[in-house]
C-alpha cells in the first residue's frame, strides 16, 4: 500500500459573490430576482458574479509530512482546508484522504457557554468525531493539558478567554487524527500556551502523523514545517522547502518600490475607524525607495486616518528578515510621554514616522509588518508583510573582510582595545 495521506487533484471552489454579499436572501428578493433575471443576464453576461476562491490546485502529501500553507488573506488557504476537512464541497476536482482528519480550523466549535468545562469536553469531543469511550479515556489528559482542573465544573461562560482557548485547544489536540489540519490557532493565547501548542503540534508531527498548517506566523511555519505551498488568488504558485518558500513569500509580489498604498477593498471592515493609507521607506535624502544603505538612517512612515477617536491606539512595525525571523517590534507610543499625550488619539489624518538609526542593520532583505491596535482591546489592522526593502552594507564596519556576517543587525559598536 502506498504511503499517500492526501492527494488533491485539480481542486477548485467557486463562490457566487451575489449570494455571499447578500447573505440573507428572502423569498421576496428571490421573486424579484427571478423576474429581473432574464433582463439582467441580457445586460450582464453570465459568470460575472462568480469567482474562484481556489482553482487548479493539485498536490500530494505522504504520511508523516508536515506541510505549511502560506499566502495572503483571501488567497484560498482556508477554503482549501475547509474542502479537505469536508466542511465545504469543491466545485471541481477530486481529493482523496487516507486517514481520519482532525481539524483545528477554529477551536472551541460547538462549545456551549451554559455548559460546564466537563460537559463541553464531551460535547466538543463528539462533534469532532470522538467516541464517548475515547473521550473518557483521555479526559484526565485533556484537563491536565488545559490547566483548568479547578474550574472543570464551572460553566465556560465564566471562563476567561485564555482558559476557554486552552480548554478548546486541549480537546482538539487530543483527537489524535492521522491527518491534522491547523489554521492559525497559534495566534491566540499567551506565550506560554503558544509554546505548549507548538510543542503539542511537533509531537503530533514526530509521531509520524501528517499535518497541514496554515499560518501567517513565519517563525512558527519555519519551526514546524519542512515544506510549504504558496497560494495566491486561489492558485498554487509554488511548492518548495520551507526556507525557500518563506523567502519567496516575504519578498516577492510587492507593488511599490519603497511604498505600499492601501486601496479600500484591501482594508477589512473590522479595521474601522483606522484606515491605512500607505507605508513607506525613505532614505537619507528623503526619497521613497526600497534600496537603502546601512550606514545611513532609514525612515519608515505610516500614513493613516482615523474616522473616530481611538483610546490607547498604538501604530507600529515589526521588522523581520526575509527568512521570517523577527528583528524587533516598535510602536509609536512606546515612549511614556507619547503614550500620555496620545492616550486618546483624535480623529484625523496622521503620519507615524520612525527612524532606524544608521549603522544598525546588516545587509540583506528585510520585511516590515504593520500593526495598529489598542493593547488588550482590539487589533484594528495588521499587515504582516506590508513592505520590504534591501539594505546595502557598503561602508559598514567589517567590510574589509569579504565574509557573511551572521545575524540581522550589524551595529557599529564602540570597541576599545586595551593593552596591558
Amino acid at each position: 500500500m502506498s504511503n499517500l495521506a492526501v492527494r488533491v487533484e485539480d481542486i477548485g471552489k467557486q463562490y457566487n459573490i451575489f449570494t455571499e454579499s447578500t447573505k440573507y436572501t428572502t423569498l421576496r428578493d428571490k421573486i424579484v430576482e427571478t423576474i429581473k433575471k432574464p433582463v439582467s443576464t441580457l445586460f450582464n453576461p453570465a459568470g460575472s458574479e462568480k469567482f474562484w476562491a481556489l482553482r487548479h490546485v493539485s498536490f500530494t502529501l505522504e504520511h508523516g509530512q508536515v506541510l505549511g500553507i502560506i499566502g495572503k488573506n483571501g488567497a484560498g488557504k482556508s477554503t482549501l482546508l475547509k474542502i479537505l476537512s469536508r466542511v465545504v464541497e469543491p466545485t471541481e476536482g477530486i481529493a482523496e484522504i487516507h486517514g481520519r482528519v482532525g481539524s483545528l480550523l477554529e477551536v472551541g466549535t460547538g462549545f456551549h457557554p451554559e455548559l460546564t468545562g466537563r460537559e463541553n469536553i464531551f460535547l466538543n469531543g463528539a462533534i469532532l468525531g470522538m467516541k464517548r469511550a475515547e473521550i473518557t479515556r483521555k479526559f484526565d489528559e485533556i484537563v491536565a493539558f488545559s490547566e483548568i482542573e479547578k474550574f472543570i465544573d464551572t460553566p465556560v461562560k465564566r471562563y476567561s478567554s485564555g482558559m476557554y482557548m486552552r480548554l478548546a485547544f486541549a480537546v482538539s489536540a487530543h483527537l489524535e487524527p492521522e491527518i491534522l489540519v491547523v489554521d492559525e490557532v497559534l495566534a491566540v493565547g499567551d506565550a506560554e500556551f503558544q509554546r505548549k501548542c507548538l510543542g503539542k503540534m511537533s509531537d503530533v508531527a514526530s509521531e509520524g502523523r501528517t499535518v497541514m498548517f496554515v499560518s501567517h506566523n513565519m517563525s512558527a511555519i519555519q519551526r514546524l514545517t519542512q515544506e510549504c505551498i504558496i497560494l495566491d488568488q486561489g492558485k498554487m504558485i509554488m511548492r518548495a522547502p520551507t526556507a525557500q518558500a518563506v523567502d519567496y513569500y516575504l519578498t516577492n509580489d510587492f507593488a511599490g518600490d519603497g511604498e505600499r498604498k492601501y486601496s479600500d477593498d484591501e482594508i477589512p471592515t473590522s479595521a474601522h475607524p483606522f484606515k491605512p493609507i500607505a507605508i513607506r521607506t525613505i532614505d537619507k535624502a528623503g526619497h521613497i525607495t526600497d534600496n537603502l544603505v546601512s550606514t545611513d538612517p532609514i525612515t519608515i512612515e505610516i500614513e493613516y486616518t482615523l474616522a473616530q477617536d481611538i483610546t490607547g491606539l498604538r501604530v507600529g512595525i515589526y521588522l523581520m528578515t526575509s527568512r521570517g525571523e523577527y528583528v524587533f517590534t516598535s510602536f509609536d507610543t512606546d515612549e511614556p510621554e507619547k503614550y500620555q499625550k496620545y492616550s486618546v488619539r483624535k480623529a484625523g489624518h496622521y503620519i507615524s514616522r520612525c527612524i532606524i538609526p544608521a549603522d544598525f542593520l546588516n545587509s540583506g532583505r528585510f520585511v516590515i509588518g504593520m500593526n495598529a491596535s489598542s493593547y488588550m482591546v482590539k487589533r484594528y489592522f495588521a499587515d504582516e508583510r506590508a513592505i520590504n526593502f534591501n539594505v546595502n552594507a557598503t561602508g559598514a564596519p567589517g567590510m574589509q573582510w569579504v565574509e557573511l556576517r551572521h545575524g540581522p543587525v550589524r551595529p557599529r559598536l564602540d570597541w576599545t582595545i586595551e593593552e596591558r
Binding site: 469536508r86 481529493a95 451554559e114 468525531g129
Partner: protein, 284 residues
C-alpha cells in the same frame, strides 16, 4: 457531499471528496457512525433549554396545561363544544400534549441549522443530525407533561386499557412528521430566513386544523379520511383512543392516511435536505 467513510476505528479510512451533482443518496451509514453525536446534541439541547429561567423544567408542564385550562374555559364551558362524552379538560389535554410536542419539535428543528451555523461552517459531520437532535430533545418535555396526564386520569377515574400500547407508535408518528417538516424547514431557512416567520404561524394554523379543541367526530364522515391527511389528526384521535377509549371518530383508513403522509413528508424532507446540504456551509 459525495463521500464515503469507512468505520472511523479502522485505519486508515479513505475519504474521497468530489463535487456531487443533483440528488444524492441519504448516506445513512455516516449517520450511524456519528450516532453518539445525536445523543450529545440532544442532551445539550435539553440541558441548556431551561437554564437561567426561574421555573425551569416546569415550563414543560405549564405550556400544555395552561392551554388546556384556557380551552376548557372558553371552548368547553362557554362555546359548549362537544367532547365525545369525556370531561372536557382531559379531552383537551390528551390533544394539547402531543400537539405541543409536535409544534415544539417542528419549530426547534426548523431553526436548528441556522442556530448551529458556526459548527456547520467549521466541522464536518452528517448535517441531518442537527434537526434530528432538536426533535429528540422535545420528547423529554412530552414525558414531563405526561405526568400531569396520569394525574388527570386518576382524578377522572379513567382506567387505561390495552389500547394504551398504541402510544409509542402514535408518538413516533408525531415525531416522524415533525422531523420531516424539520428537514424541509431547516434546509429552507438556511436560504430563506422567511421560514423563521412562517413557523409560529404554521404552528397555530396546524393546531386549528387538528382536532385539539373539538372532536374529529364533528367532521362529516365522508371527509374524515381527507381530514386525516393531516398526520396530527391521526395522532390526536389516536391518543384519545389509546388513553380514553374513544372510538367514535377513529378508523383504520384515517390512521393509514396519517401514517402515509407522515412517511412521505419525512422521506421527501430527507432527500431535499441532502440535496441542499452541500450549500449549507457556503450560505449559512
Amino acid at each position: 457531499m459525495a463521500t464515503t467513510t469507512l468505520d472511523l476505528k479502522k485505519k486508515p479510512a479513505t475519504v474521497v471528496i468530489k463535487p456531487s451533482k443533483g440528488w444524492v443518496g441519504l448516506n445513512l451509514k455516516d449517520l450511524w457512525i456519528y450516532r453518539e453525536l445525536v445523543y450529545f446534541l440532544t442532551w445539550r439541547d435539553i440541558k441548556v433549554r431551561y437554564k437561567q429561567s426561574v421555573l425551569g423544567i416546569l415550563w414543560a408542564i405549564l405550556k400544555p396545561f395552561m392551554s388546556m385550562v384556557v380551552f376548557t374555559i372558553f371552548f368547553g364551558n362557554f362555546a359548549k363544544i362537544p367532547s365525545d362524552g369525556f370531561p372536557y379538560p382531559i379531552f383537551a389535554y390528551t390533544a394539547t400534549l402531543p400537539m405541543e410536542m409536535f409544534t415544539n419539535a417542528m419549530t426547534v428543528a426548523s431553526r436548528s441549522m441556522v442556530a448551529s451555523g458556526s459548527m456547520i461552517s467549521k466541522i464536518y459531520f452528517p448535517r441531518m443530525i442537527v434537526p434530528l437532535a432538536s426533535v429528540m430533545s422535545s420528547v423529554v418535555d412530552f414525558f414531563i407533561g405526561f405526568v400531569i396526564l396520569i394525574g388527570m386520569m386518576l382524578f377522572y377515574h379513567i382506567t387505561p386499557t390495552i389500547a394504551t400500547l398504541w402510544l409509542p407508535l402514535l408518538i413516533l408518528l408525531a415525531l416522524v412528521t415533525a422531523l420531516g417538516i424539520g428537514f424541509w424547514a431547516s434546509a429552507l431557512m438556511v436560504r430563506y430566513r422567511d421560514v423563521g416567520y412562517i413557523m409560529p404561524f404554521l404552528s397555530s394554523l396546524w393546531t386549528y386544523i387538528t382536532p385539539v379543541v373539538y372532536p374529529a367526530s364533528m367532521i362529516p364522515e365522508k371527509w374524515r379520511v381527507l381530514y386525516a391527511l393531516n398526520p396530527m389528526t391521526g395522532v390526536v384521535e389516536g391518543f384519545r383512543y389509546a388513553l380514553l377509549g374513544s372510538t367514535s371518530s377513529l378508523s383504520l383508513p384515517m390512521i393509514l392516511a396519517s401514517s402515509g403522509i407522515a412517511i412521505l413528508i419525512l422521506i421527501s424532507g430527507l432527500f431535499y435536505f441532502r440535496r441542499m446540504e452541500k450549500q449549507f456551509a457556503d450560505m449559512i
